[in-house]
């Protein structure tokens, strides 16, 4: 064949790594990792595919690459050597390195070059090397050894025992072997629906041959069947499926041939809080649940089987119904037992649970949180709540940790406490506060606004932060074992969204955890920058306001930062900033500037104008600041922009005349100080 045709010869490649069941949660990432490792291997060999598609089922991880050349192109590599006439040692060294003799070198422009022709490699050879390398390098979150080979701890590791490799380039097997597993063209179909091997011809018939063998290799196809099928099963029963994409993906990772089916449970279980039913169904059984037409939880679920059963699934549904019933009766038992014990009694048991070995029991924490919640209300920081309600809710907020239900389902902490509180006759405000006091859990979660809830939630987070920092256990690097970053984000969100006005320092002192909170304050400001980044607030502007000192009311601080940002991002603001930097630079170079230096007799127009502007702007800015009118303060500063620009334009500051110079420097100092009332402009970037 001629060269042109040869270059144009492309083919497709199929790789299937078949194993025992791969955990559902790992399959999506495994697809990405396979594509990445494969592409890296191609790139290293100088190959590229037109497309790379990956597939995952519980029993296989596969890849199809299209448009692969049959061989890599020949390349000639040129290496520059010594100049003509260079010392013989240099030439010897170069020849040794390049493996050539001197007469094989090429001379050009007085320099020797070594030219090595590298022949193209067969793609099949490249792949035969790449496959074992990919398998050995595969980054499974957890992997294992197995079988006879595992007498050595160096034996092959895979997520579960690896059983077979299909590797086909075009119609030809790419021969490779790893730990006794030899590549071939044979795979297996569905574990129960298909017996005997499935022989694959090439990448082109892989998907369809497996479909015939009851395996849907496309992850997304299985997702679609589960999503649509579950919905349809619910609708056929006059119900609405509660959609849950996480469950769709999980069930797709547990099936090669998904079949969603509706089952029922005894409506008597609906007495149990619906969160419990939903959680049992979802977490333990991977079932979807449904709403009835009135929007209430229905006594139905949708499970996803992995077979088309002889009896259309009757036995499977019956079996799943029984399992769920057993789980729900367990839950009902816990619910009924827990209802018999008052939360106050449960709360006493918290003395047995360690919060942290250095920070006492959970009961100790509750005591601190109760005091702090009361203080937040009596100080008027949280308004609209009674101090008694805040304290009551705080005293009961952790009591559900010792209930049977939360012991079984830790995810229901708070939620169960809310139910038990309501059942024992606590007010809605108290019950809601118990239910919601863990919120917000990280950024994006709902931020409570009900006053009692805000008091308890804020007190809880504040206590955690203050205690851990006071005990010398701040988060370090990637390590944050006590989730203090999340607590900080929760604390800040509560404060800002509810516009709670208080000095941060006062709040920290009120925790009773100590007297010095510099590291914690810095940490919180740091978190504030992270939290506000999403809202587009600039971190340097937060620094510019915070570093003035004295501003630790975070609501006010942020209002100031926002006004500042609105101004400095205008062209006028940018000019003022530039003027500030120029003034600050000049002033930095001189000692003993007196802002009140007397005016010489013959003031020039620009000096006069700036002085007049300063005299007007200074009190205006101060007055605006005193009533927290930060836009007003910015507006006052804005009046300085034209005069300061004109001043720099028309006046030479470093005048030979001492008096003139002193006065001009004084004017600049006044300008700088006026600006600095509002923010430390030296911290502003740009």
């Amino acid at each position: 064949m001629d060269g042109k045709e040869w270059v144009g010869s492309m083919t497709d490649f199929l790789l299937e790594l078949r194993s025992e069941e791969i955990p559902a949660r790992m399959q999506v990432k495994a697809k990405e990792d396979l594509a990445r490792l494969f592409n890296d291997a191609l790139l290293k060999a100088g190959l590229a595919a037109a497309s790379v598609d990956t597939f995952a089922t519980p029993r296989r991880l596969a890849l199809i690459a299209t448009g692969l050349p049959l061989a890599t192109e020949a390349v000639s590599e040129e290496t520059k050597g010594p100049k003509v006439g260079a010392p013989p040692q240099a030439m010897e060294g170069f020849l040794r390195k390049s493996g050539l003799s001197q007469d094989q070198l090429v001379e050009r422009d007085g320099v020797h070059y070594a030219i090595v022709e590298k022949a193209g490699r067969q793609t099949a050879d490249v792949l035969a090397e790449a496959i074992p390398a990919i398998i050995r390098a595969f980054p499974w979150p957890k992997s294992q050894r197995w079988g006879a080979a595992s007498v050595s701890t160096e034996s092959l590791r895979w997520v579960r025992p690896l059983q077979g490799i299909v590797a086909l380039l075009g119609d030809a097997v790419v021969h490779c072997e790893i730990d006794g597993i030899v590549s071939g063209a044979e795979t297996m179909g569905h574990r129960f629906h298909h017996s005997g091997p499935v022989i694959i011809t090439n990448a082109g018939d892989y998907i369809e041959k497996l479909r015939v063998a009851h395996v849907l290799v496309h992850f997304s196809e299985r997702c679609r069947i589960i999503r649509d099928g579950a919905k349809a099963a619910a609708e056929a029963a006059g119900l609405n499926l509660i959609e849950d994409e996480g469950l769709v993906i999980e069930n797709a990772g547990l099936t090669e041939w998904p079949v969603p089916m509706l089952g029922r449970f005894d409506p008597a279980f609906l007495d149990v809080p619906q969160e419990v039913i939903q959680l049992t169904a979802r977490v333990n059984q991977k079932y979807f649940v449904c709403h009835d037409s009135a929007g209430k939880l229905a006594n139905a679920f949708v499970c996803t089987a992995n077979i088309d059963a002889h009896d259309n699934g009757a036995a499977i549904v019956a079996g799943n119904e029984k399992v769920l019933a057993a789980r729900l009766s367990d839950a009902k038992f816990f619910w009924e037992q827990d209802l018999k014990v008052a939360l106050d009694t449960q709360a006493q048991k918290l003395a047995q649970i360690t919060f942290h070995e250095k920070l006492g029991s959970v009961a100790d924490k509750v005591e601190r949180v109760a005091k702090l919640a009361r203080w937040l209300v009596t100080e008027g920081i949280v308004t609209g709540a009674t101090a008694d309600a805040a304290e009551r809710a705080a005293r009961l907020c952790k009591a559900d940790l010792v209930t049977g239900m939360v012991g079984e389902f830790p995810e229901l902490q708070g939620i169960m406490g809310g139910y038990y509180a309501r059942a024992q006759g606590e007010s809605d405000a108290v019950a809601d506060a118990i239910r919601d006091h863990y919120k917000p859990v990280g950024q994006g979660d709902d931020v409570p606004t009900a006053p009692v809830t805000v008091a308890v939630s804020l007190a809880d987070k504040l206590d955690t932060l203050a205690q851990f920092f006071a005990a010398g256990m701040p988060p370090t690097g990637s390590k944050d074992p006590f989730a203090l970053r999340r607590a900080a984000i929760g604390f800040l969100s509560l404060l800002l969204q509810n516009e709670l006005r208080c000095s941060l320092k006062n709040m920290l002192v009120a925790t009773g955890a100590g007297s010095s909170f510099d590291t914690l304050e810095e940490f919180l400001i740091d978190r504030l920058k992270v939290q506000q980044r999403e809202a587009g607030v600039r971190h340097d502007l937060i620094d510019a306001v915070f570093s003035l000192g004295g501003e630790d009311d975070l609501v006010r601080l942020l209002a100031r930062v926002k006004a500042l940002q609105a101004y400095v991002t205008t062209s006028e603001g940018a000019n003022l900033l530039a003027a500030y930097k120029r003034a600050a630079n000049i002033l930095k170079a001189v000692d003993g500037v007196d802002a009140a230096a007397p005016a010489p007799a013959d003031l020039v127009r620009e000096e006069l104008a700036l002085r007049t502007a300063l005299e007007a702007a200074e009190p205006k800015a101060a007055a605006a600041l005193s009533v927290e009118d930060f836009e007003g303060a910015m507006a006052a500063l804005a009046t300085l922009r034209a005069p300061i620009d004109a001043f720099f334009e028309g006046v030479m500051v470093n005048d030979p005349d001492q008096d003139k110079r002193a006065f001009r420097l004084g004017l600049l100092a006044r300008f700088r100080d006026a600006v600095t009332q509002v923010a430390d402009f030296s911290k502003i970037e740009g």
Binding site: Q163, I307, N320, K322, V323, A325, Q352
Partner: protein, 295 residues
């Protein structure tokens, strides 16, 4: 399944014995000590160590004092039966062998949904872990399937495959019963009536629950725990790994009763478990040394 009489509880065991016996497993008897799971049997713990092939199957009565419910919960027992199979090294067709055992006891995989769902096994008291699955049958966990990676803190060389069937659950499934106590234990003959699981064990559940939750003398138990740990250490000094390990099993069970009595605080719990783990690890190490395997 519907046209066949489902297996009684004892026939379920006999069928599994027959099946695994034919696969070359030695059918052993239960270990004659109180323990929380079949994994504690020396046939699993100690035999999972070292290079020698080992294939065995046995029923192990398993005691979980805290799970006792006075015989009133249809799904929970303070004492139950595990069927355990261990194959070393793990054979390449272990999953198929296992599925064959399900067919043998009457579960048709084209009528019932059998699934291998990720569940990594770890025993903090044995210093052991492995990867595997819980096997689901129509959503019910019927077996724990594990490839042991470490035992007593030592790498398993080679890896064993371990299957642990929950016999009561399987029987409830096969017999279609809603309560453990209604399980048919054996089949009636013309002149001898059948007995149920409840006939045999309900009273044990009642009395043992009362004992574990209300009566057990905690001072005596704390003392017994101390004595068992001391005895274990003494055995280790005499290079007697098997009696040492028996004392570790004893300490573990005493700890479980103390837990049920609610006298071990959360803080203390970890430290007690750590002591049992040290005993178990020490026994495993002594076993390795006794056999001349590198530790």
């Amino acid at each position: 399944m519907s046209d066949v009489v489902p297996l009684s509880f004892q026939d379920l065991i006999l069928t599994l014995h027959d099946y695994w016996g034919k696969q070359g497993c030695a059918i052993l008897q239960p270990y004659d000590m109180e323990m929380g799971a079949g994994t504690f049997h020396t046939a699993t713990t100690l035999r999972a160590l070292g290079p020698d092939p080992w294939n065995a199957a046995f029923v192990q009565p398993s005691r979980r004092p805290t799970d006792g419910r006075y015989g009133e919960n249809p799904n929970r027992l303070g004492a139950y039966y595990q069927y355990q199979v261990i194959l070393k090294p793990s054979p390449p067709d272990l999953q198929d062998l296992y599925l064959g055992s399900l067919k043998a006891i009457g579960i048709d995989p084209l009528l019932h949904d059998i699934r291998f769902v990720e569940d990594d096994w770890e025993s903090p008291t044995l210093g052991a872990w492995g990867l595997g699955w819980e096997v689901w049958c129509d959503g019910m966990e019927v077996t724990q399937f594990t490839y042991f990676q470490q035992m007593g803190g030592f790498d398993c060389k080679p890896v064993s495959g371990e299957l642990t069937y929950g016999l009561e659950r399987l029987a409830m499934y096969i017999q279609n019963k809603d309560s453990i106590f209604d399980l048919v234990y054996n089949n009636a003959t013309a002149d001898r009536p059948a007995v149920t699981y409840g006939d045999i064990f309900r009273e044990n559940e009642r009395q043992m629950s009362t004992y574990h939750f209300e009566v057990a003398d905690t001072d005596m138990l704390f003392d017994a725990f101390k004595k068992a740990t001391a005895e274990c250490e003494s055995c280790l000094q005499h290079a007697l790994p098997i009696p040492a390990y028996e004392q570790a099993i004893k300490a573990s069970h005493i700890f479980n009763i103390l837990q049920a009595r609610g006298v071990i605080s959360v803080q203390e719990r970890a430290s007690y478990m750590g002591r049992v783990r040290d005993l178990a690890k020490g026994s495993c190490q002594a076993w390795m040394e006794k056999n001349g395997w590198a530790v």
